[in-house]
Amino acid sequence: MFALFNYIGLVGTFISAVLLIPALTAFGFRETENGFSLLIYAALGGFLSVNLLVATQGRGSMLKRGTALMLAVFGWVLFPVALAFPIAGTFSISYSDALFEAVSALTTTAADGLGSLETRPASAIVLRASLQWIGGLLTILTFLVLLGPTGVGGLPKTRRSIGEGAGRVATVISRMTSSLTRYYVGATLVCFALLLLTGVSPFDSLILSSTAISSGGYLPPDGQLFELGTPATLLVMAFFFMLAATSVYWHRMVGRWQIDNLRRHRESYYLIAIMAAISVFLLIIFLTTPGMRQAAGTFSLISEAIFNAASLVSTSGLQSNAGIFTLLSPAFVFAVLLIGGGTYSSAGGLKFYRVGAMLFHARQDLAKLVYPHAVAPRHFGTETYNLQIMKAIWVMSISSIVAIAVGSGLLAMLGLDFQASITASVAAFTNAGPAYSPDWAPRGTEGWLAYHEMSSGMKFALAAIMLVGHLEVVAFLVVINPFRWLGR
């Protein structure tokens, strides 16, 4: 249990420090009241977190598999609950709406429940973008140090194994957090600088870089993405979406030029190939859509095609121009979102690794029909698929579909159009908030509400789906399993 508090303390300290960014923005934009209130939240959060961190540092106990899962779930529920307070204060909205915003930001879903941003304080917009940015980092960290080692949902195992002493775990978590944060901050700064170079204003670059690096979906209040910069802006965003959608382990392999591992790696290459294929597909659609070629130059259309493909695969859900995804079939868009990005990335969805494993397994089983005595390989690239992993992957996939179905049913019962409910549920589960939009609504259909038009009940339901989807539904199922608690 000490490890749990230690981890909460560490993350809380980091979040409190990040709250200083919107606080400084508030002072910069003469939103003094927001500035002081954010400083107070940062100080309060920092005080509690540092105390928790210091009090639990080096305390010996084992971090068991169940504790790791509980830690992941508990952390992801606790932080939005706590961070809803500064959001409610800075945006001047109700706590329930603020909770939706907090979950939406931290899970990088970026479902905008506020509507028009022009009248909102700059510090509040930066706060939300900062939470989205932290959310991207925490997502990767949660997978690296908590979910990965447990192998939940058949995740490829990381080197560190659960079961080490709390002191050691704390050290490992600190080291991983430290190196990952350095990398994450560095990549964000590069993205920020490149966006500036493409002609985007510093404020918009700040918001967009946080969106790109976390595969989030928040836009600055100035309007549609294609209006904010040049086609090069979209290409920069697409590159960082690709980075956000691929495994950090792959990034490390590239950084250290581990040729052997790079050669055996598969997931990221398939992901990039699919991204390229969707880009080509979108470009063909753009070129054959009446008026699009005339409205924009070919380079502009190419950059839009690449951006939207990267946004889809990385489960950002952001569109270069409102309604672009409606040029595609909804089934295709939501299938791509459901497959999602790579493991150990900030992207949502089932992950390429799992879909690849299922296809690999299915292919082998089909081959068995022709050759009953055929011997199937157990490895695909760097991954080993045994029966236990395949079971975990199938359970995870079926649980995901059930979770989406339950979420859709719940939203429909709360009054959302049924088709809209399914769309919103998939968008929330895959953390691709902007992908849900009333633009999908068939003509004359009512009940396709925008996020900001939804009731509190719908927002709570969506927030729950976002968390469940973000944390690999199985982790939730394990933690809420009554046998786990009754058997204690």
């Binding site: 005595h373 055929a374 011997v375 199937a376 390989p377």
Partner: protein, 458 residues
């Protein structure tokens, strides 16, 4: 030449037999007293009981005076250490080692065998050698044997002259008149178990096995002239998934994208290892003698069955069964030379003797002079040799008809500045030309002399 052979097993024995016959001073080391006794009893060699890599044993075997060490024990590490000891302690000039584990041969570890580390001059991997032979036979299915020379520009084909062969009873001199643009020469004929180097007036008879040296680009045409026109095998069933099988399948996947290969392997562990290492090949677990499994592998539609298990009897039976079930042709790996004589009567189209393949490879490095390649045929009755002519060679500067080559030697091809030259009476060999020549066993020494580096050369 003083040669030490570490290992008196099948390969070691075969090499010792050939080298001893040629009058070399051969010492054989083995840690099986029985094998040492056996080789001493049967061959004119000295046997030493002991560990092949131990300095004292090597010293007793005369390593200090040795010109060459050939380490062909069953263990890679013993072979490697034997070469290292021979180099470091006895300064043996030439070192050959048999290394089977492919890990040692990975390109990124090749520095291991550099002069300053483990100075082994020639590494022989029997599995790869046999795999290459099979690949060549898959590529040219009409030939009994295919051996490349001169960087694959020249090939030696062994062709069965059966009832389908249209050139039977035709004098060899007429062949060049009938096919003037064909760059091919019959250099040897195996007739009734005897090897001959034919003269231009000789004929090919029914039942002969003709050894033809040809321009590689005309290999298919040569086969078709001998009535052996067949397409490249594309549906292949392989029985046995050991090291040879894995190498073979990898190469087929790499070189023949259209080929469909099915492997039958008895050991589940080996089958899984193969499945892990291959992409397009289907690996089936079971016995190659199981008719139902052979049918599952599509043997009735297969072009070729390659039986390469460790068991000769299984290879023979699997090949015969495959043919019975409708397979186009078969190829079996036969270690036991006793079986070679009756393969035809059993219905085996072709066989490979791994020992002879390995021995050929070793002999290539034992030959003196400017000899670049050697292939031993007909159980050592003759050798096809590729050598470079020096200024001092008696072959250089005169038309071939004036050379008065002794019986038992026949020139198959000349490569002048990389171009194939069909040897004829008026052809003149120039310095630095490569010559592919067949020599009966008793003429090998003479051929060596023709290509030796004499003092005049310097």
């Amino acid at each position: 030449m003083k040669i030490i052979i570490c290992g008196a097993g099948q390969v070691g024995y075969g090499i010792a037999e050939r080298l001893a016959k040629e009058g070399n001073d051969v010492s054989v080391i083995d840690n099986s007293a029985e094998l040492v006794q056996n080789i001493q009893d049967k061959l004119d060699v000295r046997g030493y009981y002991g560990h092949g890599s131990h300095p004292d044993v090597l010293a007793r075997a005369g390593a200090e005076q040795a010109d060459m060490i050939i380490a062909v024990t069953l263990y890679d590490e013993v072979n490697m250490v034997a070469c290292q000891v021979a180099h470091s302690l006895f300064n043996v000039p030439t070192k050959l080692a048999r290394i089977r584990a492919q890990s040692y041969r990975q390109p990124h570890w090749q520095n291991l065998f550099a002069r300053q580390h483990m100075p082994i001059d020639v590494i022989i991997s029997p599995e790869i050698e046999v795999g290459e032979v099979i690949l060549r036979r898959i590529a040219l299915p009409g030939a009994r044997d295919i051996v490349p020379f001169a960087d694959e520009k020249v090939a030696m084909l062994a062709i069965d002259c059966d009832e389908e062969c249209p050139v039977i009873d035709t004098p060899l001199s007429q062949l060049s008149e009938l096919f003037p643009d064909l760059n091919a020469t019959v250099v040897g004929i195996s007739r009734n178990g005897e090897m001959i180097a034919p003269r231009s007036g000789d004929q090919i008879l029914f039942g002969d096995l003709a050894y033809v040296v040809t321009d590689r680009s005309q290999a298919r045409r040569t086969l078709s002239i001998f009535g052996k026109e067949r397409g490249e095998a594309s549906r292949i069933v392989i029985a046995g998934g050991g090291n040879i099988g894995l190498y073979l399948c990898r190469k087929i996947e790499e070189l023949m994208p259209a080929a469909r290969v099915r492997v039958i392997e008895r050991s589940r562990e080996t089958a899984v290892r193969m499945a892990e290492g291959l992409d397009r090949t289907v690996i089936l677990h079971g016995s190659a003698l199981d008719e139902a499994l052979l049918m599952e592998a599509g043997i009735n539609q297969a072009d070729l069955m390659v039986s390469i298990t460790n068991d000769d009897q299984v290879n023979i039976l699997a090949s015969v069964l495959a043919k019975k079930l409708g397979c186009g042709s078969n190829l079996a790996l036969l270690n036991n030379a006793g079986y070679h004589g009756f393969t035809k009567s059993l219905g085996i189209d072709d066989y490979i003797n791994p020992r002879s393949v390995t021995i050929s490879r070793v002999l290539q490095h034992v030959r003196r002079g400017r000899i670049k390649g050697v292939y031993s045929i007909h159980n050592g009755a003759a050798e096809v040799i590729e050598a470079q002519a020096l200024d001092t060679s008696p072959l250089v500067g005169k038309p071939l008809r004036e050379l008065d080559l002794p019986d038992g030697i026949r020139i198959g091809a000349i490569l002048h500045e990389g171009e194939f030259v069909q040897p004829g009476g008026n052809t003149v060999i120039r310095p630095r030309d490569s010559i592919i020549i067949l020599a009966l066993a008793e003429r090998v020494r003479q051929v060596e002399q023709m290509f030796r580096v004499s003092l005049e050369y310097f």
